[in-house]
Amino acid sequence: MSSPVKILPALLAALLLAAPAKSALEAGQPFPELGAFHLQGTLPAFAGQVTLIDFWASWCAPCKASFPAYSALQTELAPRGLVIVGISVDKTAAPYDAFLRRLAPTFPTVRDPAQALVVHVSVPAMPTAYLLDRRGVVRSVHRGFHRDTLPALRAEILRLLEEQP
């Protein structure tokens, strides 16, 4: 490439490839160890359980809609081995506490004030729920909250509860 103009396409391609492209956590990958991310709050013991990890925020309207549905799922399926864990990405405690007081979920939630876990997982939307099997492997990723897909999520959870570890 002798002429500077000829290297322009190569430079443009390099710029495009240099864009940050952190890959998001997908089905089939193990979920990261939650203890390593300095989450605020008490994490439940969920080793060996089917787990739904829900990333939410107090400013997110679909998250508000999801809480009663996930509370009902937790109440119904906890005796069979389901654990739901809410992880808030709120940086401050006040809106987080107010949200929990208002919606009173039946499942435990913790807060990720440094947003370290959510960055590590690279959550694609708010809310996003990761369904883990008893080995801690992500089996499906549910972007957003859609009331009409709840029966499918429930059926998927029931299938995982039937599986042997």
Partner: protein, 73 residues
Amino acid sequence: MKPRHLLGALLVALAVLGAGCTTVRPWERATLADYTMRPDRDPLHTAMSEHIYFSREASSGGRGVGGSGCGCN
């Protein structure tokens, strides 16, 4: 313009344009959802804007009410 100068100018333009680009990740949208980001947070300002709008457009009802602009509704 010599090709070398053209390339330099393009690179500078790319750098300037690139500096203005950012991606708001899903968990960073709290700022966008903040009350102060609402364009209608000040009722007086909204009323003034609407008055200017329907005065300029010679329409009745401003932006919030359907009408044909005849002033008869």
